[in-house]
């Protein structure tokens, strides 16, 4: 198909959803992508919005200014902000230049809010009404020709004379009430507003926690300036999760479409941190060279203790990081959770100590070696429970993202303690 037949490509892609077209563009490799875009010029704003950052940049670079202008003109303000926020300055300028005056001002204002804030991600197209209106007035207003409505809206926000949001009404209620009903009477009971500076993580969490569908955003004078809707909140929540999962694994940002060089750069820092911690653990082993040359079995068995500790630590750590992210782990229950993790570590430690002690005895024929192995296992699993919960909690208190940094600390801890406990005990007991 990539043999230059634009009409046929058009016919193939036309019935697809923009998200699917974007997916397709991401799936093919770089040279196929260039070929496709040379013959097919159907890229519009919706497709651009759906693309991965890297590929979006690549494509915007190759678009003619007029094509770009046309592509972004139909997007809502928040989609344009999403589109341009991670572009380099030159490209950002090109996109903004393509917007009409008023739209441009809106986008520039949004970009002035801090990254990852409610102000950045809100939509400024809001349907609002004075709080004293009736259902009839509302419907007449919505039907009047000169009102430009957002593509999708689910609530009407009621505001007082100072444009402060005071309540909201779902469209379902507006539709099912009589024309003379005051809007106030059918307003929802629970009602939450966000400030423009609220971090998007909190916003996404609140949508999920309170099952919000949309929520007004106010400036520092409490005046209504925009709205965040659940579809945006769902995307934000998805991104938060993605970030957590990737950070826990030490991958940072990055997507499948990044190049080898980009990916190597993303992963190297974490591997470098791991190298330092691994060398630290090696240093601990180095302290016991004499013991190892005397009993080689120690070298054979020591990775088991460290590896079990590392795994148990990662378990505790992941549970703690998730609990912090979902606000389930707070100051009031942190000691209870730590106590639980210590106990779990102790119980699992004893169970595996028995198994491993017997195993060590059976393999190397030394009952004392089995005892040392068992004791080191218990110590390391208890430390794993303590470190796995305590470290993320402390990092959170220090204002450091626990998903990002905990892993390295916890595995260093379990490696060092694992080797030290096993080899140290062995030196004392067996030599």
């Amino acid at each position: 198909v990539e043999a230059g037949d634009a009409a046929q490509i058009d016919q193939l892609l036309d019935p697809l959803h923009p998200a699917d077209i974007a997916h397709l563009i991401e799936q093919v490799d770089a040279s196929e992508r260039r070929d496709l875009l040379n013959v097919w010029n159907g890229i519009d704003g919706d497709i651009l919005s759906e693309l991965d950052d890297g590929i979006r940049e690549e494509i915007i670079e190759n678009l003619a200014p007029s094509q770009l202008a046309e592509a972004v003109r139909d997007l809502e303000s928040d989609d344009v902000v999403d589109l341009v926020e991670y572009l380099d300055e030159e490209q950002q300028e090109a996109v903004l230049g393509a917007l009409e005056g008023a739209d441009r001002v809106v986008v520039e204002k949004a970009l002035a809010y801090p990254e990852e804030s409610a102000g950045r991600h809100m939509q400024v197209e809001v349907v609002q009404a004075p709080e004293h209106w009736t259902v009839g007035q509302m419907i007449d207003y919505l039907r009047s020709e000169d009102v430009e409505l957002p593509d999708q809206f689910y609530h009407v926000i009621l505001v007082d004379a100072r444009i402060k949001p005071v309540a909201y009404v779902t469209l379902g209620r507006v539709l099912s009430a009589r024309r003379d009903t005051p809007l106030r009477d059918i307003a929802e009971e629970s009602f939450r507003t966000f400030n423009i500076e609220d971090p998007v993580g909190d916003v996404a969490h609140a949508f999920n926690h309170y099952h919000l569908i949309s929520a007004p955003v106010v400036d520092n004078d409490d005046r209504l300036v925009g709205v965040i809707t659940i579809d945006d909140a769902m995307i934000l929540l998805d991104e938060e999760h993605e970030e957590d999962i990737l950070r826990l694994a030490g991958v940072g940002e990055g997507s499948l479409t990044d190049t080898v060089i980009e990916t190597t750069k993303q992963r190297m820092p974490w591997l470098a941190v791991n190298l330092v911690t691994a060398v630290l653990a090696s240093g601990v082993i180095g302290l016991f060279e004499d013991a190892i040359s005397a009993i080689v079995a120690l070298a054979v068995l020591m990775p088991i203790v460290a590896s079990m500790g590392g795994n148990a630590g990662t378990q505790s750590l992941t549970v703690a990081v998730r609990a912090i992210a979902t606000r389930a782990l707070t100051g009031s229950n942190v000691w209870r959770v730590i106590r639980r993790e210590l106990l779990v570590g102790a119980v699992n430690g004893v169970l595996f100590a028995v198994v491993l002690g017997i195993f060590g005895f059976a393999w190397f024929g030394s009952p004392m070696l089995g005892v040392v192995l068992a004791a080191a296992m218990i110590i390391n699993l208890v430390v794993a429970g303590l470190a796995g919960t305590g470290i993320p909690v402390i990092l959170e208190k220090l204002g450091i993202d626990p998903a990002l940094a905990s892993g390295a600390f916890v595995t260093t801890m379990t490696d060092v303690v694992g080797f030290f406990a096993f080899l140290g005990l062995a030196s004392v007991v067996l030599l």
Copy 2:
């Protein structure tokens, strides 16, 4: 406050959102919770819905049948299903018994669908209209007294004579159109239906991918039987993520409120798997006992190679598992992704090999030891890239959840290869 003053507790809890009350109930410990519920009987269906499974069971056990009946009567059908699906049979029976006949039938029907299916999670309260209606007819229908509308709805689904959904109209459009406009003319262009048997993971992904707000669910005859809305989809997506994150860390299910015994049971199987793989790795080390007794430095350095490989493998693995979950990694780009991971492994391998080679030489004064360390590092990071991507892809093809099982396979691989490459090369080169 827990001194028995029910009125005061009422006053404190009353202004709170049910989700916050549930959160509070989860935060306090078991005996405080019992005290609280002895003096305060404000538990309603909304609060029960928000609670963690374990605590919900505990509370339902202690509720009088009449209290339980009252609590569940006001919930929508999908919320009742969520509430009861993981209760034991006796409790399920008690809740179902509290429902009125028609509601009970609906819930029992939903429970008959497979777990984690669209049918289980849909809401049967749907606002539908014949496709030939006008805006005016629609509004009159919604306003009529004898129609019972769901609490929240955002779309009207148009159906044909066979109750097959053919299009949907957003309420915003209904409100802003003139009364004589046919609903067909203001229907949305893109439109997606789900089958009752579709897995919820796919449903959640489709909502996120296509930015759906609500979508009709049809039975095997294509007849409209329910609707899934974005707020439910958001919860499903959140659960999928949670599951992925916990499975990757080998934690399985489980929440902060589980007891020590429950938590120990959840984590033990993963630790047991890890024990087997660690013993396997030890076996590899055991093959080289002679080399280690000759050169103790090998024992000191060998964990570095294994640990770097394990980390790099986890990075590749996490990216692959996420890409499979978001459908970004498919048959068409799998070879490209594997090639990229191999190259990233090789580049990082060479970089860290140089650092580590120099380090090994400097520490132990043997240039050949540095070379062996460097070579083993390159081999292990390339294997990590290959295994980290290949193993989840193969597991996915075999129908096994890659998030669940990949970790153990990948770290076994990097441990075994790491120890074997380093000690094997050392035996050949240095002895």
